[in-house]
């Protein structure tokens, strides 16, 4: 495929910026992991809260850069014309850099207790998790979102001609700005402040980002596998509909303990338990759509990350979110490391990997090197994928120990009691973090220099020799994919029961942690290993499929839509 529209080239700079921010975010993550082991590291220079604020904000910024890059790349294709106002896009690029640098410096003011109060608003930094940026940066970010929405909506054809992908992206870029506004007010009541803070955080992630994610995944499947637009449109509409039907009231799972009434526990437990439905649905569709043709994989790294994004969305956001979504399990997981395992898999996995996938898809086309060497990209994928799974494991098991020592035993001395019990897992975190960081470095190097390095000819030949499609590489049938899915949910159920077992008098009163420890010790490693093996299996089958015999249509569980 070639670049069809000149303004698609504008996406490249956002992908490169995304990689720079990703690498910096990972460095902050390593500092945080080291500080989890010894909180006095860098104390006074870069306190944990400042490093964490940067880690969260950069995470959001590079994911947004990935979205912008991907949207700018596909918008001209969807509109069948050039982007309007490319100068605005260029301005947006420098504005993003400016905001990131500004926020880098203002976050340090938290060490001196300076928020920049003026007119009742904190203008420099506001010390709220995920929304640490002060009002100045917040308003500039709003302007940035409005620019993006303006460019995309003006480029798109008239609403009457929109298909589901247009609707998904159009609603997505508009809602990105609208939802952000809820974070731009100082609220004095703690319960009301948390209520609105989750408007931004939950509705962004589970309302808006998810919509952009589904639309982009759908459209990239069209581009990569020539999947039928109508079939993908069906998946995009019902994916988005299910996300909103479950996620709108599902936000209630953030309102269990913040001072809002008890009835939220009913609504939150019920509706957010449905939130994995769209994720299972999308998971299934990537299986169907990736199998609509039998040609060899043209751009392996892009597909690896697309698959990783969908699978981690199901496992990290779906299953690990599901386990702690009931009031009776959330009462234990809330405010512990257990939630951090879910957050890392869900946020980096789902949205981060989508951005990297888009960068891998677009960069070779924009640099005119369709025959690029995919080996570094594949290596990078496996490093970040195993790294983030390992980190989720450390968080989840460390968090289970934390629930026992901190909540069941009620010991609140972190230095003397809690950290002592969590020690092993606190050390495991930077170790797996190092694996992910290495992967991030490999990916950034590969994408920066893609098309600018010489490629050894031997590698080309090795790449083009297909493996026989037998054994582990035999074609993946719908039946087998279903078995993998069931296994994931089986381990998810074990994890849920593990969290639930903290309610038993045997654990809570007698203080015996055996049952929750055993269930977590089986559930988390089981789930993460099945995830790793499934992705390996899926990719092995896909890479060998050029030499595969035709799959019997009887084994297809669902017909392709459309």
């Amino acid at each position: 495929m070639q670049t069809e529209y000149q303004t698609q080239r504008l996406s490249l700079r956002f992908f490169m910026l995304m990689l720079v921010l990703f690498v910096v975010q990972v460095i902050y993550g390593m500092i945080l992991a080291a500080q989890q082991v010894d909180p006095t590291i860098l104390q006074g220079w870069l306190n944990f809260n400042v490093a964490r604020a940067e880690h969260l904000n950069l995470g959001i910024m590079w994911i947004v850069c990935g979205f912008i890059g991907a949207i700018l790349f596909v918008a001209p294709l969807l509109a069948k014309r050039e982007l309007v106002a490319p100068w605005l896009v260029k301005f947006l690029f420098y504005a993003v850099i400016g905001i990131v640098i500004w926020n880098f410096f203002t976050q340090f003011l938290a060490e001196r207790g300076i928020a920049g109060w003026w007119l009742g608003q904190p203008w420099l930094q506001q010390g709220l998790e995920y929304l640490e940026a002060g009002r100045i940066a917040g308003l500039l970010i709003l302007v940035g979102f409005l620019i993006l929405a303006f460019v995309v909506l003006r480029t798109f054809p008239r609403v009457r001609e929109w298909n589901e992908v247009h609707w998904g992206l159009g609603l997505g870029v508009g809602a990105l700005a609208v939802v952000w506004v809820f974070g731009l007010f100082y609220v004095a009541r703690l319960d009301l402040q948390e209520y609105f803070r989750w408007f931004v955080v939950h509705y962004w992630v589970e309302g808006v980002w998810e919509v952009i994610h589904i639309s982009l995944i759908g459209y990239f499947l069209v581009l990569m596998f020539k999947a039928d637009v109508k079939s993908v449109g069906f998946a995009v509409f019902w994916g988005i509909a299910l996300v909103w039907l479950s996620g709108l009231i599902g936000n209630a799972h953030h309102y269990f303990w913040i001072g809002t009434p008890e009835f939220w526990q009913f609504w939150g437990s019920l509706f957010s338990a449905l939130e994995p439905l769209p994720l299972v649905f999308c998971f299934w569709h990537i299986y169907l759509d990736a199998h609509t043709n039998k040609r060899p994989l043209e751009n392996a790294p892009a597909f690896y990350f697309l698959l990783g994004s969908t699978v981690l969305e199901l496992v990290g956001a779906g299953i690990l979110g599901f386990v702690m979504t009931f009031a009776l399990t959330n009462v234990w997981s809330h405010g512990t490391w257990v939630t951090a395992g879910h957050a890392h898999l869900a946020l980096f996995g789902t949205f981060g990997m989508l951005g990297i996938a888009a960068a891998y898809y677009a960069t070779p086309i924009l640099r005119k090197v369709p025959q690029f060497d995919p080996r570094l990209g594949k290596l990078g994928f496996w490093l970040v994928f195993t790294g983030v799974l390992g980190m989720a494991f450390a968080f989840a098991i460390g968090g289970t120990v934390q629930v026992y020592v901190y909540r069941i035993l009620g010991l609140d001395w972190f230095g003397g009691d809690v950290n002592r019990a969590m020690g092993t897992y606190k050390v495991m975190l930077p170790l797996f973090g190092l694996v992910l960081s290495t992967g991030a470095g490999v990916l950034a190097y590969d994408l920066f220099t893609l098309g600018r390095r010489m490629r050894p000819q031997a590698a080309v030949d090795a790449e083009t020799t297909p493996h026989p499609a037998t054994g582990w590489r035999r074609p993946l049938t719908g039946f087998e994919a279903g078995i993998w899915l069931l296994l994931m949910w089986l381990f998810g159920t074990i994890i849920t029961l593990g969290l639930l077992s903290f309610n038993l008098p045997h654990v809570r009163v007698a203080g015996d942690p055996t049952l929750p420890y055993v269930l977590a010790g089986v559930g988390y490693p089981g789930l993460l290993l099945v995830t790793l093996l499934f992705v390996w299996r899926f990719i092995a089958s896909l890479e060998a499929r050029a030499s595969a015999p035709a799959i019997s249509p009887l084994l297809r569980v669902l017909p392709a839509q459309g």
């Binding site: 909180p39 006095t40 306190n47 944990f48 809260n49 964490r52 604020a53 976050q107 938290a110 060490e111 207790g113 300076i114 904190p122 930094q125 506001q126 010390g127 709220l128 998790e129 640490e132 004095a188 009541r189 703690l190 319960d191 948390e194 209520y195 069906f234 509409f237 509909a241 709108l248 209630a252 303990w257 913040i258 001072g259 009434p261 008890e262 009835f263 609504w267 809330h334 405010g335 490391w337 951090a340 901190y406 909540r407 069941i408 035993l409 009620g410 010991l411 609140d412 001395w413 972190f414 003397g416 950290n419 002592r420 019990a421 809570r508 009163v509 007698a510 203080g511 839509q561 459309g562």
Partner: protein, 319 residues
């Protein structure tokens, strides 16, 4: 069903039904939200809570300005490096917080908490004026003093002013008063000793207790007595034995040196100045340090104890 999933004649009404359902859900969500914040719920609000002259409303701004949520959780939201702060006021009480917050790098001793109880705001806030009654009322403070008192924490010292400390206490009083529907869950696993036994397999508390209880016999050498007193009273949480700044000025080489004061004058740190700075620390404030952070030890220390501390300060060299 009569229509297949790809049949467009069935697809359209289905999609419309999904959108109607979504609208219905939005209405439910809005109704629930309105009910959540009606005054009839009786939820605590920051504008009704104060500690002495300090308002919880102002405390919340201090809490955000220092990004406390970046290390701690509040109602369970935030970072997981340090403990949840929702109920810390309920457990440890305002005097322990007042002793802890200015020098967060060290755990307050019993005497440091006792010094805070002299503050009239503390009287009004706790309804107690003896340390025993206070520790009875706030068992979390007793456990903290017994197990950690005098040790170093993992938290950095923050440049909190006197007012900011009072405001933060007011804010933490407000969060303690909030109805969070039973979170964090009640601990039902028995006594502290039993829980420590379950966590570590040893009774750390029982071992620590005799060490704290066995007060060394009053040393005959005044400097040695002074060295013991500055530990007992938690002075070393704020003052270093060299000339480095922790929270207050370092002590190394202070004796007989020239000190610049906040009002621009200069004094020599003789015995009278040092004794006054212990008894009435706000009488002369060293340039560059905020007033009101150190409590007055006038009524807490006997004359010979003040003299012993001054004698100890004589021995500290600049490093």
């Amino acid at each position: 069903m009569s229509c297949g999933s790809g049949d467009s004649s069935c697809e359209k009404p289905r999609r419309r039904a999904a959108l109607v359902l979504l609208g219905l859900m939005a209405l439910i969500f809005i109704a629930l939200s309105v009910f959540s914040f009606l005054p009839s719920r009786g939820q605590a609000t920051p504008d009704t809570v104060s500690f002495g002259p300090y308002q919880a409303n102002d405390g919340k701004r201090v809490f955000q300005a220092y990004n406390c949520m970046g290390c701690h959780t509040m109602v369970g939201n935030g970072a997981y490096l340090g403990p949840d702060l929702t109920e810390v006021y309920k457990h440890a009480g305002p005097a322990w917080l007042a002793a802890f917050l200015p020098s967060a790098g060290g755990w307050p001793t019993e005497a440091a908490v006792r010094a805070q109880l002299l503050d009239p705001n503390q009287h009004a806030g706790t309804g107690t004026d003896t340390i025993d009654a206070y520790l009875q009322k706030y068992p979390g403070a007793a456990a903290r003093i017994q197990r950690r008192g005098g040790g170093t924490t993992l938290m950095p010292n923050l440049p909190l002013s006197k007012d900011e400390i009072g405001q933060l206490i007011a804010y933490l009083k407000y969060t303690s008063a909030m109805n969070t529907e039973g979170w964090p869950p009640k601990v039902e696993a028995g006594t502290l000793d039993r829980r420590l036994q379950l966590a570590h397999g040893t009774v750390a508390l029982a071992q620590a207790a005799p060490a704290a209880a066995a007060k060394p016999a009053a040393a005959s050498d005044p400097a040695a007595l002074g060295a013991q007193l500055v530990k007992d009273y938690g002075c070393v949480a704020c003052h270093a034995s060299d000339d480095k700044r922790l929270v207050g000025p370092g002590w190394g080489g202070l004796y007989e040196s020239s000190v610049s004061l906040a009002d621009g004058s200069k004094v020599t740190a003789d015995d009278a100045y040092l004794a006054e700075s212990i008894r009435q620390p706000n009488a002369k404030i060293v340039a560059g340090y905020p007033p009101g952070v150190m409590p007055a030890y006038d009524t807490l220390l006997k004359t010979e104890e003040v003299n012993a501390i001054v004698a100890y300060l004589h021995t500290l060299e600049k490093q």
